[in-house]
């Protein structure tokens, strides 16, 4: 199978974010990581490759710094990596990002499956996978908790989607775009052997021309959405009351009474 995984480099979830006027978010020099949801997509892609053969290509849109995320994906077991980078991309919104990624995927020959994490932990829109599927003209299977069956030769698959209402079983034709939720697998750790391979890997950089992108559709001025204002959520208010008592039972009774009085239970 020829599988593509699209990943995003994001600030570590432990980073302290600051909002700077008017609409800029900064995370200082915090560690940058692969969006944690994307790790599930990478793991699933590697498992499919291990089962059916083929290769896994990982893509990201970003700057030179984003090569670190790509190297980590290779250290986990992806075979190839491409950085998609061009000054014309700066300021692109989710809509433009779907165009960039779809153009890049079209350069990679016959692809059976494109995998994403369900959303990125920084912007949290979850829009890009759907947009890429639309532009490629492929079905989107989002929130996949399990690939139940896949038949690369017969070009079909059956999956379980994890929705708020419950689980949904869906079958589809390949090629397809999927997004992974954490129930799908347990991402592996990188290996020393693959880290060495990643260290030696020359990562090709694809610019707008290389992916055949029309730059007039890209950048901040062409974005369909704009960030008018960014502000941190208001600090939580409330008080803490420590409950004491002679025994754990007595403390539990007091706690239950208070929760009943507050109509929490």
């Amino acid at each position: 199978m020829n599988i593509v995984v699209c990943i995003k480099q994001v600030p570590d979830s432990a980073a302290t974010l600051k909002v700077e006027e008017p609409s800029n978010v900064s995370w200082g020099d915090a560690l940058l990581i692969i969006n944690p949801w994307d790790e599930y997509a990478i793991e699933e892609a590697i498992r499919l490759k291990e089962k059916f053969g083929g290769k896994v290509t990982v893509l990201t849109v970003g700057t030179e710094q984003s090569k670190e995320a790509l190297k980590q994906a290779v250290a986990m077991g992806c075979d190839e990596a491409h950085l998609i980078s061009d000054p014309a991309f700066v300021g692109s919104d989710a809509l433009a990002m779907t165009y960039i990624l779809a153009q890049a995927i079209k350069q990679l020959g016959e692809v059976d499956l494109v995998a994403f994490g369900k959303q990125a932990i920084d912007s949290d829109t979850g829009l890009v996978p759907a947009g890429v599927a639309r532009r490629l003209g492929w079905p989107l299977l989002s929130y996949i908790a399990k690939i139940d069956e896949i038949d690369p030769a017969g070009k079909s698959l059956k999956v379980t989607r994890l929705l708020e209402q419950g689980r949904q079983s869906v079958s589809s034709k390949l090629p397809v775009v999927i997004t992974a939720v954490k129930e799908i697998n347990e991402p592996r750790y990188p290996s020393f052997m693959n880290i060495r391979k990643a260290g030696k890997l020359q990562i090709p950089v694809l610019d707008a021309a290389a992916i055949g992108a029309d730059v007039s559709k890209l950048g901040a001025t062409q974005a369909a959405t704009q960030w008018l204002k960014v502000f941190p959520p208001p600090a939580r208010t409330g008080t803490v009351e420590m409950i004491s008592g002679d025994s754990p039972q007595a403390i539990a009774v007091t706690l239950a009474d208070k929760l009943l009085a507050e109509k929490v239970i």
Binding site: A75, R188, Y189, S191, F192, I195, G199
Partner: protein
């Protein structure tokens, strides 16, 4: 001169630290209290390469340089001392002799399952009831060459990993006439009839790393299971121990680092006289000393590892690194409890466990006294 780790080494450190934070540290207390080997985490180490640090890729290992291997052991030890000892012993002592001296057949047969984690661990049996530091004169376990077999008879003590191992490389006397060519290393699969592994010893610390007495009652293995040259068992062992000492030095740094970090955390949280105790000079001095000592010990360990990686003599430096790092660890862990006050004596706080764990470091793989002897012999010749 360059004190900077390579990009690859920095990546290794981050990887093993992440692994230890997620898989070892949260379970370290249980591993110790229940004296339960953390197989779950150890099985996950195989695919990462942590079980074949010194094993070439051709035999399923990671084949990393000695500095990276030291970093890996340090970070595992920072997460869990018991698991750190088991993995240091597996890599350095269990796999080490086969990698260094084993025949091609032995390497192909035994290294892949050891290095990939598809099998169990490796162990080395040297010490006997009457032979610790004095292996040359003290080893009584005898291997008789009969036909195409070795027949082994004897007793070993303090064998780390014996009950979690597939292989025990055993130091045996093969020539009763004595002399420096009287010992040999022989690989004994643990499923060989006549090999009896006693229940785990009850120890002060490192309880999640089982240590056993092993009895060889007419144990028969093929002659080809000889590791290295017949009669060179002592020389081979000393060379294996040189590498193992870097591992124990690295493990000691990991333990010291863990205790030091706990002490800092506690010093910032605990208030006396209206301020966090970290603001009292008495505490600051202990923390400053710990920071300095750990840094110095780490440099010595990395230097010895660097010499090894670059094919230079490192016997003296490995002994210096082991001696210094283990004694630093003792001081740092002692003061980490001191900073915690009475709470540090409680099993509720990790420093109590770490202090017990580190106590072995100045004893195993050559006591501090033996290290001084090695250093003195190297300096005075």
């Amino acid at each position: 001169m360059d004190f900077q780790l390579t990009e690859e080494q920095q990546y290794f450190r981050r990887l093993v630290r992440d692994f230890a934070e997620a898989e070892l540290k949260p379970r370290a207390r249980h591993t110790d209290e229940a004296a339960e080997f953390n197989w779950l985490a150890v099985k996950k180490m195989g695919p990462i390469g942590l079980l074949g640090l010194n094993v070439p890729e051709d035999y399923g290992g990671a084949g990393v340089d000695a500095v990276s291997a030291a970093i890996a052991i340090e970070e595992i030890g920072r997460g869990c001392g018991s698991t750190g000892l088991a993995i240091a012993a597996h890599n350095g002592l269990g796999c080490g002799p086969i990698v260094l001296f084993g025949s091609e057949e032995l390497k192909q047969k035994f290294l892949p399952p050891l290095a990939t984690g598809s099998g169990k661990l490796g162990a080395l049996a040297l010490t006997e009831p009457g032979a610790g530091s004095d292996l040359a004169g003290g080893v009584q376990t005898f291997a008789q060459h009969e036909g195409d077999e070795w027949v082994i008879q004897g007793n070993k003590m303090w064998c780390t990993n014996a009950s979690s191992a597939d292989t025990i490389v055993t130091l045996c006397r093969t020539d009763r006439s004595g002399g420096s060519k009287a010992l040999s290393l022989i690989l004994v699969p643990t499923n060989t009839p006549g090999l009896i592994i006693a229940p785990a010893e009850k120890k002060m610390g490192l309880k999640g790393s089982p240590t056993h007495a092993v009895t060889y009652d007419n144990v028969r293995v093929p002659y080809e299971y000889l590791v290295g040259k017949e009669g060179y068992g002592l020389q081979h062992t000393l060379q294996v121990l040189d590498g193992g000492r870097i591992g124990i030095g690295a493990l000691s740094i990991g333990l010291a680092q863990a205790a030091y970090e706990e002490a800092i955390k506690y010093a910032k949280e605990r208030h006396t006289f209206g301020v966090p105790i970290a603001q009292h000079q008495a505490i600051q001095w202990m923390i400053a000393d710990a920071a300095t000592q750990i840094e110095a010990a780490r440099l010595l360990v990395y230097k010895a590892a660097w010499l090894k990686a670059n094919g230079k003599p490192f016997t003296k430096e490995a002994s210096m690194a082991k001696l210094f790092a283990t004694e630093v660890s003792e001081k740092v862990c002692f003061n980490a409890i001191q900073i915690h006050g009475g709470y540090g004596y409680s099993a509720e706080y990790p420093v109590e466990r770490i202090y017990r764990d580190q106590r072995l470091m100045t004893l195993g793989e050559g006591t501090s006294e033996i290290q001084r002897l090695v250093i003195a012999r190297n300096v005075l010749t």
